[in-house]
């Protein structure tokens, strides 16, 4: 009779597995949605701890929703309605370049525009778009993560792209 064995998450092996499966995604989701300012790392930890504390009441199949909902709420509680600014990471190797100063200047300008444009997206668009373009997540994977349909994901991504291009090309 395995009736009672699996309808809760109070099992350490199971918990570790859930962590492995969802922790990074949750972190990225929070980051892309809310930015870095309110410490997405912490919220991820808090969400998992809350899961453990409530392990009796959460079925494994509901664990992911639980984590995302809790983390999201933790963020919302912490956030004022500020504009989200994602950090622009300078990953280009500076040592070796054969670009002209004008090119570099243009590059920098472009980045700044892009940064602004990303911040201007709706949260829904931004999350879906960046998970897809930066993390390489498939539409289906994103749909599962966010508990929405694949069609909705497609719409958000496409909408984000259009909006970004519009914002960037506006001088």
């Amino acid at each position: 009779m395995s009736k009672n064995l699996n309808n809760h998450t109070c099992n350490e092996t199971l918990f570790a597995k859930l962590f492995k499966t969802h922790a990074k995604n949750l972190h990225d989701f929070l980051y892309y949605r809310f930015g870095e300012r309110l410490n997405p790392q912490d919220k991820v930890q808090e969400a998992f701890i809350k899961l453990w504390e409530n392990c009796k009441n959460v079925e494994p199949s509901r664990a992911k929703s639980f984590l995302f909902t809790v983390a999201n709420n933790l963020m919302l509680n912490a956030v004022a309605h500020e504009k989200v600014v994602l950090k622009f990471q300078d990953t280009k190797p500076k040592s070796f370049t054969n670009e002209t100063p004008e090119f570099l200047l243009e590059e920098n300008e472009y980045m700044q525009k892009l940064q602004k444009a990303i911040a201007n997206l709706t949260e829904a668009q931004r999350v879906a778009f960046l998970l897809n373009r930066i993390e390489g997540k498939k539409h289906k994977e994103i749909a599962d993560m966010l508990d929405i349909s694949t069609k909705a994901v497609e719409k958000r991504i496409y909408g984000a792209l259009k909006q970004l291009r519009k914002d960037i090309e506006e001088i």
């Binding site: 930890q45 990471q89 373009r133 497609e154 960037i168």
Partner: protein, 300 residues
């Protein structure tokens, strides 16, 4: 295929070789590539899964150490509390009254809270309130008891036939079905009964048999004989003698064939039935036969 459709498919990573060529040929292609490149710089900071998991595990074990309260604890505590209340109430109410009784052939001496002593003869019972003893020295008696009372406040013994009030003395009270007797050994005792009220001085003897007050001679002894395991009688109707015999020995007596109102003067021991029987039958010309368990008395 329209531009939009191509772009959609590109977004879905769903271009077959032909479509890919068509896509690359779009005028938007460069802008889209530049955009894709630029986006890479906005990648989320690295998430260290291992380290974060260790942090979470540590916090989890800290939290469990703090709160090991399992869900069954509350109901158990509730039950324990109810039981505790129940038992304390029960204990309190039952310790209000102390009852001490003796069975057939049993005697016992008890010490009261004020160090007064009571010795019970067989088949007797006393009751008193231990907690109130300091203020009120009052007890109830059924049967026969010898008292040695410490000097102090008023000491009273209540029986169904009357109350004896005492001041620091030694005295005897016997109250059985039709005999009520008080003997004062070293005392000043007031006896109040439905028949009479007397103040007894040392050696005085108050006796009511079948509702009749009987005059008695002064008691010579210092204490009742049954304290020494012997019953002594003086002109006592035989039936009382037999009753006492039955209390000191586990026997069944048939006395139908004799006159149990005869007066008997004598004694019998408590530790030898045959001797006792002889002692109470020979002087009155009575014989007895043992029929299984039953002792039948008859005239010679």
């Amino acid at each position: 295929m329209t531009k939009d459709e191509l772009i959609q498919k590109w977004l879905q990573d769903n271009l077959n070789p032909q479509e890919l060529e068509a896509f690359k040929a779009l005028e938007d292609y460069d802008a889209l590539m530049k955009l894709s490149e630029g986006l890479k710089h906005f990648k989320a900071p690295e998430f260290n899964e291992q380290d974060t998991f260790e942090l979470v595990s540590k916090t989890m074990s800290q939290k469990s150490a703090q709160k090991p309260k399992p869900s069954w604890l509350k109901p158990v505590l509730r039950i324990a509390a109810i039981l505790a209340i129940f038992f304390s109430v029960y204990y309190y109410t039952t310790t209000l009254t102390t009852d001490i009784s003796t069975l057939t052939a049993e005697k016992t001496t008890i010490t009261l809270p004020d160090h007064s002593e009571v010795t019970l003869n067989a088949k007797s019972q006393i009751s008193y309130k231990k907690k109130q003893w300091k203020d009120t020295r009052k007890l109830t008696l059924e049967g026969e008891a010898y008292f040695k009372v410490e000097k102090g406040s008023k000491f009273s013994v209540e029986t169904s036939s009357g109350t004896i009030t005492v001041l620091g003395t030694q005295f005897l009270v016997e109250n059985r079905s039709d005999i009520f007797e008080v003997v004062c050994y070293e005392c000043t005792v007031k006896v109040t009964s439905s028949i009479a009220e007397r103040i007894l001085k040392p050696g005085d003897h108050f006796l009511v048999l079948d509702g009749k007050l009987i005059a008695k001679e002064k008691e010579e002894a210092m204490a009742p004989a049954w304290l020494q395991n012997e019953s002594v009688f003086e002109s006592m109707p035989y039936k009382y003698v037999l009753n006492e015999l039955k209390r000191q020995y586990q026997i069944r007596l048939d006395a139908q064939n004799i006159n149990s109102n005869m007066l008997f003067t004598g004694r019998f021991v408590h530790n030898d039935l045959n001797l006792a029987l002889k002692a109470i039958t020979i002087p009155l010309n009575i014989e007895y036969t043992t029929n299984n368990d039953l002792i039948v008395l008859h005239d010679k």
